[in-house]
Subunit: 356 residues, 2 copies
């Protein structure tokens, strides 16, 4: 029996990536990079050879069950876990881990978001295998820490104890999105890495951590033992989610636990949280434009342009803009102002729910 499992978290909406990421069709279901595979598919592909296909679990909103099964047709019904409401990552991970524990008490689990990109696939596999070796039979929680290349204020940071190991380091603190000055200090110190939100642990350790750090959540999902993999699971989960609070695994577990380790790595990773992050990781033309569409460009540079294939788009005189159209919404926005996209989405909602 292969004890390696993967949980892909695919329930987010990715508001900042509007108008591509939409309530009915969030970012992870798009072929954002134009490679022919969606982010969810790329994430699943990334674990080929790491875990057997039947050990892959997706946690998503019940709204996206069909999308998941369409994009990953190899999945059985039992492998797509549906959340009735969004409750952040802690309940999501608890649900999947307790369900896996029920089948395999010796499971070693990798948890990964569905909407990140990782350009260095081989390094990723090597890192994950290192993590799996580390957690096998050891009561530790492992996270992946990305060597920072800039003082990004959009990421969480992990401080580690430099002298605590070769490249698996003991974690000292977690810090959510810092302001710029703090981010600069973090990067300069050499003791901080970006929190990639990718976790590795054995199932007994994470269950123990839930029991210690989030006992209410542990209790709720522990109760499901008898119904996981049965017809009663859906009704049980409906009730469980109505009782659980909304909390992230970082806030709820990682920041509180004392047995957290981080593997330092350089994976060509991006959370693709924003248009700018897509711009950063994409190939650029001579004028530093990232183009995915049918375009004529004049005196236009440093732009990211992503428009429907059938539309001809002629642009003259833009510098540093996002031009993005998807499903009847066109956005033209200065790249520097992309933090405003969330506000646009709120305003768009008032114009009609079909636009968000």
């Amino acid at each position: 029996m292969n004890h390696t499992y993967v949980i892909i978290m695919a329930g987010g909406i990715g508001t900042r990536f509007w108008p591509f990421s939409r309530t009915s069709y969030p970012k992870q279901f798009h072929d954002v990079l134009g490679t022919g595979r969606t982010l969810l598919q790329q994430t699943a592909d990334r674990f080929d050879g790491i875990c057997p296909p039947e050990n892959l679990f997706i946690v998503t909103s019940s709204l996206y069950k069909d999308l998941c099964q369409k994009q990953l047709p190899q999945l059985s019904d039992d492998q797509v876990l549906c959340e009735p409401i969004a409750r952040n990552t802690a309940p999501c991970i608890a649900y999947a881990c307790y369900k896996i524990a029920q089948r395999d008490p010796n499971a070693n689990i990798i948890v990964a978001p569905a909407d990140h990109i990782i350009l260095k696939e081989d390094d990723f596999k090597r890192t994950v295998r290192k993590g799996l070796d580390a957690v096998e039979g050891n009561d530790i929680l492992v996270t992946l820490g990305i060597q920072p290349t800039r003082p990004d204020t959009g990421y969480g940071y992990i401080q580690y104890i430099p002298e605590s190991g070769d490249d698996i380091k003991k974690v000292k603190t977690f810090t959510e999105k810092p302001h710029l000055e703090l981010a600069r200090q973090f990067v300069d110190s050499g003791e901080f890495v970006w929190n990639a939100g990718i976790f590795i642990w054995n199932v007994q350790s994470i269950i123990k951590s839930f029991e210690n750090c989030l006992p209410e959540i542990a209790e709720i999902f522990e109760e499901g033992k008898s119904v996981y993999y049965t017809d009663g699971e859906e009704a049980f989960i409906e009730k469980a989610y109505s009782m659980t609070g909304s909390i992230s695994i970082d806030n709820g577990v990682m920041e509180k636990a004392s047995n957290v380790f981080v593997i330092l790595c350089d994976l060509g990773w991006s959370d693709l949280g924003t248009w700018k992050s897509l711009y950063e990781v994409s190939d650029k033309n001579e004028e530093y434009n990232v183009v995915d569409g049918h375009v004529l460009l004049y005196d236009t540079k440093n732009c990211i342009i992503k428009t429907p294939k059938e539309r001809l788009v002629a642009i003259n005189g833009l510098d540093g803009f996002i031009v993005a159209e998807y499903d009847n919404v066109l956005m033209i926005c200065r790249k520097e102002d992309e933090q405003k996209v969330k506000a646009f989405v709120a305003d768009a909602k008032e114009k009609g729910t079909e636009f968000v």
Copy 2:
């Protein structure tokens, strides 16, 4: 019998107004101002009460015959004159005038482009009636001259002899689009008006002028006498247009004739030749944006935005841009660079004829 006739020239393509103006659906067939009536319809409406409906003639490309009849269903087949190929305004006007002369040798004719706008409808009617009175039985060619409000380099200018009459002045020279310095001198001199391309004459005078100034064209269309209003007209016109050169009425007749007069007027006129001219005549919001579409605007000013009703368009950070989408073509262009639109169209043609 009412001897007043109107010829509306509706054969142009209006390239500078791309992507709205398209080969298959040029500017004059669009409701450019969002009033519920297309430019062609507005032009025809403008002559209500000036000439009886049966005296209105449209000259257009045979490609647009159906469009003309759809937009102006009151027209009989004989009132839509179809040009097999574009040959500029002189052959267009000759065709219509010779055809009218055949029916009514005492016709007084107003010639007007289909794609201009005139905001002061009453002043226009008063001016046109003044012109009709002036040409009745008098061998003169009358043109309308718009009091210039700025040194526009996109218009033709007419110089008149100041002391030659009250507001019907003898014309001294025609000047096509001048460079800026010259345009400034024209406006400062007080002796120049914009050439609106709207003409008034009796049919005998214009025929005499064709005979004097463009004898080849006169000869060609004179020959049609026996076939106008018959089944032979189409074949005759096919042949006539294959023989005639391409020349404007300004170059071919008005600049050469010695009996040209101009009525000075202030009509709220624009040739709507370009996006900027549409911007100038349109209502603006508090941030000086002209908006026809479903938009969310942030930090955006001095723009003209014209997009499909069904599309939500969110724009952040544009100043002085044209954002226009029509029939699968989106253009984003600095207003100051709108002279480049012609080049975009040429490039778009290479991407597919459906885009031009």
